[in-house]
Symmetry: C2
Subunit: 211 residues, 2 copies
C-alpha cells in the first residue's frame, strides 16, 4: 500500500497542475500494437491547427514512438521504463518539467502497451482512453475488464480489418457498457480515417474546466 | 528478491516433475489476442491422435480459454489470477495436481496476455514460445525485447493479414535474431493453417529427454 500512496501524491500534484493550466490530460491505454501512436499521428495531423497538443510517450525501451510524434511537428517526451510494465505519476511530474506547457490544450500520455497493470496507476489524468484493436478478438472486455471499467472512452480501432476477422462488435460494445455504463465508444480506423471525425469532434468540443 | 527466490523453488519442483515424467512443458507468451488459444486449438486438432497434450490456461478472469481447449477433447485447467499480470510457478505446481499427467507428452501453459511481465517469471518450463501477431506492428522486438530475448521459438502469427498491413517480416526476424541468435522462427496463420506444418513437425520430433 505504501507505493500506491506515494503514487497518489504525485498524481494529485499533476492533477492540480492540469487544472491550473486548464489542460485536458488523457491517459491512453491498450495492448501492444493496438494503434495508439498511429491514432495520435492522425489526430495531431488533423487538429494541430485548431488545438495545441503535446505527447508524453511511455515505453520499455526505444524512443521510436516519441520520434513518430515529433515528426508531426508537436512536442513529445519519451519515458523509457527499462522494463517496468506501467508508468507512475512521478514520471509524469518529471516529464511535465521538460515540456513547454504554456498555451497547451491537450497532453496525451501514451502508456506502456499492456492491458493489465497501467489501469491500476493514477497518473493525475483528466480522462482515460482505452484502445482495442479488432485484431485482438472480441473477448477482451471479459478477460481484461479493469482497463475497460476504468476508462472514459473506448476506441475500437482497425475496423478496416473487420472483413478478415470474426469480431462481433455488438457483443464488445455490450460487454464494455456492462462494465462501465458511461463509457463513450467510437469505432475507428486510424488507417482509413473511418469514424475519426466523431473522435476529433469529441476532442475539440468546448470543455468546462474540469472540477 | 524474496519473491523471486520463492518462485524459483516452485519452478525447480515443476522442472523436476517434467523431467521425471518426460513431459515437454511449453510456456506460451504474447500480447493479448495474438492468437495463442487459436494456435492451440488448431495444433491439438491436428496432433491429438499422435501426441497427448494438456493445457494450463492463465487469465485475469473467465474460464473462456480453458473451455475452448476442452472443446478440442483434451484436458485444460484454468487459472484465474483475479487481476495479477503474470503466472507464478506455484500456480503451475497446484494446477499439475489437477491434471492426469500419466502418458502426457506435452503440457502447454498459456500465460496471461502480456508482453512484459510474464517473461520475468520462470514456471519450470522446458521451452518458451513467444507469439507475435502481424497486426501488432513490426517494432515489437525493439520495444519489448525481453520476451523475445528469453524465448526458444517465435511464432509470427496471422500472416493471412499481411496484405492489409505495413509489416516488414524481414526486419522483425532480423531484430529478433539480434536479441537471440538461437531463436527458431515460424511464420504461420492459425486461421488458414499456412506454415503450421513446420510448427507441428517441431512439436512431434523425437526429443531426447531434457537434461
Ligand atoms: N490495418 C490497420 N492497421 C493499423 C491501424 N492503426 C494502426 N495500425 C497498425 O498497427 C501497428 C501498430 O500500431 P502502433 O500505432 O504502433 O500501435 P501502438 O498501440 O502505439 O503500439 P505500442 O506503442 O507498441 O503499444 C502498426 O503496424 C500500424 O500501422 C488501423 O486502423 N488499421
Ligand atoms: N486473421 C487471423 N485471425 C486470427 C488468427 N489467429 C487468431 N486469430 C484471431 O485473433 C483473435 C484472438 O485470438 P486468441 O486465440 O483468442 O488470442 P489469445 O492470444 O489466446 O488471446 P488472450 O488469451 O486473450 O491473450 C481471435 O479473434 C482469433 O479468431 C490468424 O492466424 N489469422
Ligand atoms: Mg505506440
Ligand atoms: Mg487465449
Ligand atoms: Zn505490471
Ligand atoms: Zn506483472
Amino acid at each position: 500500500k505504501k507505493i500506491l500512496a506515494k503514487n497518489e501524491d504525485f498524481a494529485a500534484v499533476n492533477r492540480k497542475f492540469f487544472k491550473k493550466k486548464n489542460i485536458l490530460c488523457i491517459n491512453m491505454i491498450s495492448s501492444p500494437g493496438s494503434g495508439k501512436t498511429t491514432i495520435l499521428e492522425k489526430t495531431i495531423g488533423q487538429l494541430k491547427k485548431k488545438i495545441n497538443i503535446a505527447v508524453i510517450e511511455g515505453d520499455l525501451y526505444t524512443k521510436l514512438d516519441a520520434e513518430r510524434i515529433r515528426a508531426t511537428g508537436v512536442q513529445a517526451i519519451q519515458i523509457e521504463t527499462k522494463g517496468a510494465c506501467h508508468l507512475n505519476a512521478d514520471q509524469i511530474t518529471n516529464a511535465l518539467h521538460k515540456l513547454d506547457t504554456d498555451n497547451l490544450d491537450i497532453i496525451v500520455i501514451e502508456n506502456i502497451g499492456n492491458l493489465v497493470c497501467p489501469s491500476d496507476f493514477d497518473l493525475g489524468e483528466t480522462m482515460r482512453v482505452v484502445v482495442l484493436s479488432v485484431a485482438e478478438g472480441d473477448d477482451k472486455c471479459r478477460k481484461y475488464p479493469q482497463s475497460f471499467a476504468k476508462a472514459n472512452i473506448l476506441l475500437i480501432n482497425k475496423t478496416d480489418l473487420l472483413p478478415h476477422l470474426d469480431f462481433d462488435i455488438k457483443k464488445v460494445k455490450k460487454d464494455a457498457l456492462k462494465l462501465n455504463k458511461h463509457l463513450k465508444i467510437f469505432e475507428i480506423s486510424a488507417k482509413t480515417a473511418a469514424g475519426m471525425k466523431n473522435w476529433f469532434n469529441w476532442l475539440t468540443e468546448p470543455r468546462t474546466p474540469v472540477s
